[in-house]
């Protein structure tokens, strides 16, 4: 079934998607958060009539526009890459995955693209209240578009509301609401968008700090910091809560990812959380090179069990339990799942053969095979392991532990730091001391790249952590890829790398110049 697909093709296709997604995610979180911040600032302008708020709004809006354009540019590639590089996947799940993408276009992108023109060019053409509405709708449109793509992504992490149809050889939707309101989708949306708010708040505070350090536009900078810090503090608290819920989802539905990002090799009751740790180069398990020992780790007892199952003594399966199985705690061995997956694949093959072979005698056989495959028991006990049928080596079921572990811990540690960062920024500003706190102001500037690091780490965890699956348990990444020459993918990979990097350099240079120009004379064509 996987003729013509080789490891190099899968790796390059993954690399291309990762490249596009990571570039896209440099720009999107800022759009999500800065859109809301700009709308809040404009609301303050409309409410107070204070022209200073208008000046502040227009400055941040200019930066929003620069960032927005390049986010759009990288986004279009991502949407179409599902078809160009993952065509097998596109057919297998198009019945479910396509719907959120279409709704994203109809309900969110049009809202965003219609009202952004008014937001930028309508200051002198429409009323104040209409302009404010347009700004809010642009921000809401951006966040709505995130909703639909995150619903699609969440479905890949935890497929729900569907059934496999052997006739069409694909997954078919049975409940739209189950897809939309799956806990994984809800938590992922809230966690991802609120993390974008955090990043944007840090961006605003960091740049405002630069103005204060330069002794310029102090009132502008202070007002921006107050809005950014309050917004950022609320957002980071929410991000942590939704992150906690997301982690619980992962513990339930993607236990291997959970074990990998916690570096939990052997499961236990009352499992401890590794708060900090360093992974060594050595492994004590010769059967799997991926399971490196820890050089050092600080572990807090029982916390992991509570985090995963809200029970201090609950059993949390480790990587070895998930591979070898653990009868005591009802964990199925990977080999059993592979056998079940193979049965599902064989049954599908038999059905396809029967369909091809003849219309009458074998037609009845095909019908009976179809009934068997569509039977809920078969779907639950065999078909839900369909993807395992493609797995040749159980060790490939373990994602890169080091990458998952570090990306998770970087994200969490930085998230904790951001709480204090926002509180201190707010405290100093409200006390009128911010201009004296040079060290903090410098730290604020350097916190901007840390926010991007945390944001990217979150996606690395989400996507690398679920490997080898493109759809959890149902479709391994290698089965999803388009059959095309490796050379073609290499060419497009490097093409995108060059284009995106060039555009990123242009964006950063423009952004920095615009910041230097400042809020008094920002603008374009002159």
């Amino acid at each position: 079934m996987l003729d013509g697909i080789n490891v190099a093709l899968v790796d390059w296709s993954r690399a291309q998607f990762a490249l596009t997604a990571m570039y896209h995610w440099i720009f999107v979180p800022l759009t999500l958060g800065l859109g809301i911040l700009v709308a809040i600032m404009e609301t303050l302008y409309v409410k107070t009539g204070n022209p200073e708020w208008k000046r502040i709004t227009r400055f941040w809006m200019t930066l929003f526009g620069i960032n927005f354009a390049i986010g759009v540019a990288t986004g279009i590639i991502l949407e179409f890459e599902f078809g160009t590089n993952w065509s097998n996947y596109s057919w297998f799940v198009g019945d479910i995955f396509g719907a959120p993408l279409a709704i994203e276009g109809i309900l969110a992108f049009f809202m965003e693209s219609t009202f952004i023109a008014i937001m930028f060019f309508g200051w002198n053409k429409v009323s104040k209240s209409f302009h404010l509405t347009a700004t809010w709708l642009t921000a809401i449109g951006a966040n709505l578009s995130a909703l639909w793509i995150l619903v699609a992504n969440a479905w890949m992490q935890k497929p729900v509301g569907m059934v496999f149809n052997p006739e069409t050889a694909r997954m078919e939707m049975t409940s739209f609401w189950e897809v939309l309101f799956s806990p994984m989708a809800v938590h992922k949306f809230l966690h991802t968008t609120s993390s974008g708010f955090v990043l944007a708040a840090i961006f605003v505070i960091g740049i405002s700090a630069w103005f204060i350090l330069k002794g310029r536009d102090i009132i502008f900078a202070r007002k921006s910091i107050i809005v950014g810090a309050i917004f950022g503090f609320v957002a980071i608290i929410y991000t942590i809560f939704t992150g906690d819920s997301s982690a619980r989802d992962i513990a339930h539905y993607q236990p291997m990812k959970f074990a990998a990002f916690e570096g939990l090799y052997n499961g236990s009751e009352g499992a401890g959380l590794v708060a900090l740790g360093l992974i060594s180069r050595n492994t004590s398990d010769p059967s799997n090179e991926n399971l490196k020992d820890f050089t050092v780790k600080i572990e807090i007892p029982n916390i992991l069990s509570y985090m995963a199952f809200l029970n201090w003594n609950a059993f949390v399966p480790g990587i070895n339990d998930l591979i070898r199985g653990n009868e005591k705690f009802g964990v199925l061995a990977a080999a059993d799942k592979i056998s079940r997956g193979k049965i599902a694949i064989e049954k599908l093959k038999a059905f396809k053969e029967a369909k091809k072979s003849g219309p009458r005698a074998l037609g009845a056989k095909a019908d009976s095979l179809k009934t068997e495959i569509m039977n809920p028991d078969f779907q639950k006990n065999y078909f839900s392991y369909f993807g395992y049928g493609y797995i040749a080596d159980v060790n490939t079921l373990v994602p890169s532990v080091a990458l998952a572990f570090y990306s998770f811990h970087i994200m969490v540690v930085l998230g904790m730091y951001f709480i204090f960062f926002f509180l201190i920024a707010l405290f100093y500003t409200l006390k009128g001391k911010i201009h004296k706190k040079k060290t903090f102001l410098r730290i604020a500037i350097w916190t901007i790249p840390l926010a991007y690091l945390a944001s990217q780490a979150g996606w690395v965890l989400a996507e690398v952590g679920r490997q080898p699956w493109v759809i959890q348990d149902l479709m391994p990444t290698m089965a999803a890829v388009t059959k095309i020459s490796v050379g073609a993918v290499q060419v497009t990979f490097w093409l995108f790398a060059i284009i995106f990097t060039t555009l990123l350099i242009a964006e950063i240079k423009i952004m920095m110049r615009q910041i230097k120009i400042g809020p008094n004379s920002e603008g374009g064509a002159k």
Binding site: G65, I66, F68, A73, I77, F80, F82, G83, T84, N85, W86, S87, N88, S90, W91, G94, D95, F97, G98, A99, L101, A102, I103, E104, G105, I106, F109, M111, S113, T114, I116, A117, I118, F121, G122, N124, K125, F130, N165, T168, A169, M173, T174, F176, K356, T482, K483, A488, T492, L495, I499, T502, L503, A506, K509, I510, Q514, G523, G524, A525
Partner: protein, 376 residues
């Protein structure tokens, strides 16, 4: 409401929606057509800025329509999405890259420290304006002339040539459609300039170039339509789904669907009236007749490609792999669910119309640009 519709009715309904999005996209490619005219119409920097800014306030609509078109196709006919995008790899990436460089060019063009220089971003816009319509038109040509793919039992696509879709330009009928779309987009771009810019010199030059672009548009368009009506087409047998070659298939379709034929003719007349009335009377409303006519014509052509038991994406590599609205669609459940979402479309069109009207109630002028805080 939609639950009572038969599967074929739902498939047809979704083809109508996807085709309408495609037709709107072709109209909105006036932005691309206009981008190829910056160096022709503008004689000064101020004039060029006027052209860029008038299109810069609309490019997002074209872009969003393309993205929505892709998303709607994915949702309603995922097998086309998987087959065409995965198969005609180079064509789609060439189209996409031309839109990627467009997306940043308006915003970055005049910004200080833009790294690549104003001229580079203007060239990016020109490339998008040229490649976008030609490649999209050529790709749509394969709806009538076929592509080189085959599908296995699991619907995995194999492409029959190493050129992955680029071979479509070797079929002159495809290329003729691509060139017709290019010159149509230039015609629409010129009409849009005349409608939305308050500048006498730009108006006069646009009017002059309107004639120069109408002639090649008509030549390529008429060639495409006449050749289409006389060529063999790709039909399928209802019930078995077997694909067969049928002589004069598209002529038969035209005759079998009189309402669609009427829509096609009204559309063509609309385009011609938009052009001719502007040339003769020098008015500014030509864009609305030509734009509306474009939507009707393209919509009718796309319906012609898929209705009346016609394969909308035929394979000339493996005939029985050809795609029809019946074998390429989503499940009944998904089509019904998506149909409820489609009820939002009139609402979306309503607010787009309102916003467009609010922004275009006064023509753009150099005085306005001088005062503009956010200009391209």
């Amino acid at each position: 409401m939609f639950e009572t519709l038969s599967l074929i009715s739902l498939q047809q309904y979704w083809w109508l929606i996807v085709s309408l999005l495609g037709a709107l996209f072709v109209f909105l490619m006036f932005v691309q057509g206009g981008e190829t005219l910056f160096f022709t119409i503008a004689k000064t920097e101020t004039e060029k800025s006027l052209l860029v800014n008038t299109l810069g306030r609309k490019w997002e609509f074209t872009f969003t329509t393309l993205v929505t078109f892709g998303g709607a196709f994915f949702a309603s006919f995922p097998l086309f999405y998987a087959t065409s995008f995965g198969g005609a790899y180079w064509v789609w990436f060439a189209i996409l890259i031309s839109f990627v460089i467009q997306a940043v060019s308006y915003e970055f063009r005049k910004k200080p420290a833009n790294f690549l220089g104003t001229k580079t971003f203007e060239i990016f816009l020109f490339i998008n304006g040229l490649l976008g319509p030609v490649l999209v038109g050529t790709a749509v040509g394969t709806f009538f002339n076929g592509a080189m793919f085959s599908l296995d039992d699991m619907k995995h696509v194999t492409w029959g040539t190493p050129f992955r879709g680029l071979e479509a330009v070797l079929t002159f009928h495809n290329l003729a459609l691509g060139l017709a779309v290019l010159f149509l987009s230039r015609v629409l771009g010129l009409l849009y300039f005349m409608n939305s810019i308050d500048n006498e010199a730009i108006f006069e030059r646009s009017k002059k170039h309107l004639l120069y672009n109408t002639v090649p548009f008509l030549i390529f368009f008429l060639y495409f339509v006449i050749a289409l009506l006389f060529k063999d087409g790709f039909a399928y047998k209802p019930g078995t789904g077997e694909i067969i070659i049928e002589s004069y298939k598209y002529l038969h379709n035209l005759l079998a669907m009189p309402i669609n034929t009427l829509m096609f003719l009204v559309g063509v007349v609309g385009v011609l009236w938009g052009i001719i009335s502007t040339l003769l009377k020098g008015g500014t409303k030509g864009i609305w007749f030509a734009g509306g006519g474009t939507v009707l014509t393209v919509w009718a052509l796309l319906i012609l490609a898929a209705f009346n038991h016609t394969s909308f994406y035929p394979s000339v590599f493996d005939l029985q792999s050809s795609l029809t609205i019946e074998n390429a669609s989503s499940s009944r459940f998904t089509l019904v669910s998506m149909s409820y979402v489609s009820l939002f479309v009139p609402f979306v069109l309503g607010y787009i119309w309102y916003a467009w009207k609010s922004m275009n109630n006064k023509k753009i002028s150099s005085e306005e640009l001088e005062q503009e805080h956010h200009a391209y």
